[in-house]
């Protein structure tokens, strides 16, 4: 047990602190209330979808980091929408597909956005 934890595990990189990814966005978003959340990866809405929804963990981490702000998954018509892409290169396509315009790009694939005017 000790050998596995203390000798084997350190060979694998450990995840960076969750807040690092969303720190800049947090400063730009309202402190509380509700905003939209979209991603280039699917977020599971039921346990049956979990295994095939690779965006679930990222949503959970974003919610953890930005609490008490509530992130509404797939709501791209909210006044403010957080676009959270696993691949930063996928952001332009994500914004285009969701008809969003970027307000601030905080790096690492995280963009604060709002719906385009009709």
């Amino acid at each position: 047990m000790a050998w596995f934890h203390l000798a084997v595990e350190p060979r694998f990189p450990h995840p960076p602190p969750i807040d690092d990814r969303y720190r800049a966005a947090r400063g730009l978003l309202p402190r509380s209330g509700t905003i939209g959340y979209v991603s280039d990866r699917r977020v599971a809405r039921t346990p049956a979808e979990y295994e095939t929804s690779t965006g679930t963990r990222r949503y959970i981490e974003a919610q953890y980091s930005l609490a008490p702000l509530i992130l509404r998954v797939e709501d791209d018509r909210a006044a403010v929408v957080l676009a959270d892409a696993a691949e930063p290169a996928a952001l332009p396509a994500l914004l285009e597909q969701r008809k969003l315009c970027a307000v601030a790009d905080t790096g690492r694939g995280v963009v604060v956005s709002r719906p385009r005017a009709p």
């Binding site: 934890h5 203390l6 949503y59 959970i60 981490e61 609490a67 008490p68």
Partner: protein, 461 residues
Amino acid sequence: MSLALAAAAAALTGAGLVAFAFPERASSPAERWLRGAIGVALGLGSWSAAYAASLLLFGPAGRIPKDALLAAAGAALLLAARNRAAGADGRREPAPRWLWAAFALAGAAAAAIFVHDTLRGPDGGYDAFMIWNLRARFLARAGTGFRAAFSPEMEFWAHQDYPWLVPGLVAQGFLLSGREPRLVPALFAATFAALAVAIPALSLARARGARWGLLGAIALLTTPCFVVFAVHQESDLPLAVYLASAAALLLLAAERGNAPRLLLLAGFSAGLGAWTKNEGTLYAGCFALALLVRTRDVRALGWFLVGCAPAGALVAAFKLGFAPPTDLWQFSTARSLFSHATDPLRWGRLVLLTLRRIFFFQDHALWVAAELAVLLAWVRKLPGTVPGTALFLACAVYAPLYVLQPHPLEWLYRYSVERIFIQLWPAAILATLLPLARAAAEPPPETSSGSWPMEPARRVP
């Protein structure tokens, strides 16, 4: 100042409750430490439950007055118990040095792993940031808007309906420190891990000597998933602590002819378990039923249920007034329940999954196989105890729960069965080793009794 008041509130409440429940002074070092460990667990639980009650009733402004009230109540209980008589001399049987060395090694390894893994992953395990520390952040950050923590607008992964004893502790730690140091949830996790070892081990040491206490502690410390759950900062080990504490108090109550105050405290501990996780309500119910079945004493059951009442009322108020429905109800339909119940393949898959997990070395290191072997070879021939019966009931209830629940069986089983195991394991070690130690010392009685007394029963006024 507010930190000192909060510390006094938790410490005095725990010490006061224990002093209230035990009519005599501790008779041995093991008993003194056992009472101390139970006092710490109940003090922390009371502090968190009182925070939740004050938050739901009065908002964030109630936090500091609540601490003052708790400290005063705890001090009053301590004062009322100051002239207790000395207890009868307890067991002081030493353990061999090699056993102490094995315990020290297991403890040092567990501590090293805890520190190492916590530094590597300071956000804790998946459930910590998905549920428990997420809730703590909501409570600490949202001020008067704390109800957002239970908002159904979040995805169900946040499990807004879960009780929040651990988030209540962490949130208060954040509020007291004025920021959100990652040390706070890690410290609470370490405390509950230590209590999960201490309570069954000291119960065993008090009743059967240091040798059995050390064996119990080693069995827990060397279970591979034990330290992992501590590192992950989840609520399963805290629930295990309240379960083990209730089991220890029920055994102590049985030893004293079902002493009402100890039954009250056992119920209070089981109630705090219900405020820790949803499964805690199931365990409190199993303890109540086992108490009735084993003792046939309705008054004893009544005292236990009165003890459950404060935290039980908090759970009921939260569930009925604030929380969205639990996902097991949310995703279930009458049709899904019927089709799952009548699906023989689903029952068969559950049996196969369980058999496979019993020998899953990475999580259990064959401790489950050893436990089953001991139960089948020795313990089943001994008179039943209240904690043992309660644990069997809980395991039995999980079978239909797994089959009827709405989620994919393999998925839910994979992510939950180790949790259930670790919740039950400290109490199971106590409930298994105690009668085994007694049987090792003398032949078992021929007739079954309501409980397995550690010493001849005597009624305490």
